[in-house]
């Protein structure tokens, strides 16, 4: 699949909201719970359609998640939606105890994740969420890469009868999911074939990984690009096949390098089939001021940055 700079891009919050409304039409158990985030969660349409089923607890994230767990206890299917940094940071203990450990059917929707809030700064960046959510047992961690996966994640979360965490992308992304691609825990999409190096990417980084693969193909380097929307549980079979069949793995995520996708892949391959890896993400620092696009460039989370990591793994040197 070729992704060019001209490809149409999408704010997946609209797909999240549209799919949620579609499902809520058919299933009256579905409610949305937010923390004064009706607009930023794109829930205005949901509120218009189902005014009683949009619960706004105000600016109170601990209450937000607890109320969500209680609604689930009372037979509802709550989509608990808030800006990802506040949902996962402020309410981490509620996510652990009330949702995951209590095994309630709470769907945690982290809006505007990663560095989507750009210039608002590190307080508003959600780059730790994948590490924190992965550390919690009984909590699938889902990072959709495009509109189709966002819709699939919403549908899956309703069917899944337990807690889950979904990152809802805000940063505009092109469509990357082939028609009929499978979606679920332990499943991934292999988007390009290649036997030299594997790039496993999530979210905003998937289209960039595809662009990197294009660049490298021109140099005669075959890159296997895998979109791995379930950071937990991983598609272990596909990761280990890549470890066996290619010469190394690059992971790419809009998150800290401590504990997210890269760490998950590394802990799997180091136990089962060690290979050289490069983990691309935010390298353990608070981001400087800049737009989301600027910050992705700043941290090398670009097609060029991914391509450079592939070349380095192959011993071609940093600049090819």
């Amino acid at each position: 699949m070729t992704v060019t700079a001209e490809a149409a891009t999408y704010d997946c919050r609209q797909d999240f909201a549209d799919e949620l409304i579609r499902l809520a039409e058919a299933d009256e158990r579905i409610v949305a719970v937010c923390n004064d985030s009706v607009g930023s969660s794109n829930l205005v349409g949901f509120r218009e359609r189902f005014p009683d089923r949009l619960i706004n607890v105000g600016i109170a994230e601990q209450d937000l998640v607890g109320v969500g767990a209680g609604l689930a206890n009372g037979g509802k299917i709550p989509f608990v939606s808030a800006a990802a940094p506040f949902l996962t940071g402020r309410a981490l203990e509620q996510i652990k105890a009330d949702a995951a450990y209590s095994n309630t059917h709470v769907i945690l929707c982290g809006q505007s994740p990663g560095m989507a809030y750009g210039e608002l700064g590190p307080t508003h960046h959600s780059i730790e969420d994948l590490s924190w959510m992965r550390a919690v047992a009984n909590l699938p961690v889902v990072v959709p890469a495009d509109p189709e996966q966002t819709r699939a994640a919403v549908r899956w979360a309703v069917e899944n009868r337990g807690p889950s965490f979904i990152r809802i992308p805000r940063f505009k992304v092109p469509a990357v999911t082939p028609p009929g691609a499978p979606f679920g825990p332990g499943l991934s999409n292999t988007l390009t074939d290649g036997d030299d190096v594997t790039v496993i990417a999530i979210g905003t980084l998937v289209s960039r990984a595809l662009a990197a693969a294009e660049q490298l193909r021109a140099e005669g380097i075959g890159v296997r690009v895998i979109n791995m929307p379930f950071v937990d549980p991983l598609d272990a079979g596909t990761v280990l096949a890549a470890a066996r069949e290619t010469r190394g793995i690059v992971t790419a995520e809009e998150a800290t390098v401590s504990g997210g996708l890269g760490a998950a892949v590394a802990s799997l391959v180091s136990a089962e089939h060690p290979v050289r890896m490069r983990i691309l993400g935010v390298p353990g620092v608070f981001a400087p001021t800049g737009s989301a696009g600027f910050l992705l460039e700043h941290f090398g989370l670009t097609a060029d940055g991914i391509a450079a990591a592939v070349r380095e793994l192959l011993g071609h040197g940093l600049h090819g």
């Binding site: 109170a60 601990q62 607890g66 109320v67 209680g70 609604l71 206890n73 009372g74 105890a97 209590s102």
Partner: protein, 292 residues
């Protein structure tokens, strides 16, 4: 998941049926007997486990027994029955009291109580709804149960269902901000089907609440958050039964239940060290004597 003890559950349902027609004094007489049995069970569990929170277990016992045996609509053989009333113990460290009450009602066999905190027991130091029938949410960290109870009450209201939700909070726990977030949510959504009971024993882990971070005027705080306030003696089963009557104002109901930590055993009463002290064999003997 543990399963119900059918004969005990049947006995419990018979008791509930009998009490349904009884006057309040008669009910209270039965509830007092159950409270004594629960306190004895708590002593035995903690003595065996050599772990537990006996002071708070005793301050909350009469509240818990009144709720389960005197008020709430529950079926121990169908713990997840969708129209059950919900009881949420937010002060999850008082699990021994909850487990004893649940076992008394037949939610699981009383023999399980001997496994309290033993390796691989379902009866952890803090309650786990995945393993213990009758537990609605996994509490332990403070400030969690109230928002969950608020969500449950909201679900019932959205569906126009008549089941109610009761949450029991420790008084020290009211220092957690999340509780006041929930207090605002419940009054905003006019959850008259929600009752919050504060076990006001005036002691927290290390000292008196008023010396740690003062809660008073606690009743005024509830009123100002939009709740109907009822203040009672938390060891008076008659007063508790009356306080647990439905809201008369359309507002959620807060019951400040004035209690004594360690209630029922003279040498434990109102003494901060009995927050989680484990009685010696001699103290166990004396305690059981006083609770006979």
């Amino acid at each position: 998941m543990l399963v119900a003890d059918p004969p005990l559950a049947a006995e419990f349902q018979d008791l509930r049926a009998r009490l349904a027609d009884a006057d309040v004094q008669e009910k209270a007489t039965e509830l007092r007997k159950i409270s004594l049995a629960v306190r004895r069970s708590v002593v035995e569990m903690i003595a065996t486990a050599k772990l537990g929170h006996i002071g708070g277990d005793f301050s909350v016992t009469d509240i818990m027994v009144t709720c389960f045996a005197g008020v709430l609509n529950l079926d121990p053989t169908r713990p997840l029955w969708e129209d059950r009333d919900r009881f949420v113990l937010s002060k999850g460290h008082c699990a021994a009291s909850l487990y004893s009450t649940l076992a008394y009602c037949g939610f699981f066999p009383r023999s399980e109580l001997a496994t309290f905190m033993a390796p691989l027991s379902a009866l952890n130091g803090h309650p786990n709804r995945v393993k213990v029938p009758g537990v609605e949410t996994n509490s332990g960290p403070l400030g969690h149960g109230f928002p969950v109870a608020t969500g449950a009450a909201l679900a019932a209201k959205l569906d126009g269902k008549s089941w109610r939700t009761v949450v029991v909070l420790g008084d020290g726990e009211m220092q957690e901000g999340s509780n006041w977030e929930a207090a605002m949510t419940a009054s905003h959504y006019e959850l008259a089907n929600l009752t919050a009971i504060v076990d006001r024993n005036r002691l927290q882990q290390g000292a008196r609440t008023e010396d740690t971070k003062a809660l008073e005027p606690l009743g005024d705080k509830w009123r100002s958050f939009g709740w109907e306030l009822r203040e009672v003696d938390g060891h008076d089963h008659v007063a508790l039964l009356q306080a647990l009557e439905p809201s008369t104002t359309g507002k959620p109901v807060a019951i400040v239940a004035n209690t004594i930590k360690g209630k029922g055993v003279s040498f434990m009463e109102d003494r901060v060290e009995w927050h989680h002290k484990v009685p010696s064999p001699e103290q166990v003997r004396l305690a059981l004597e006083e609770l006979a």
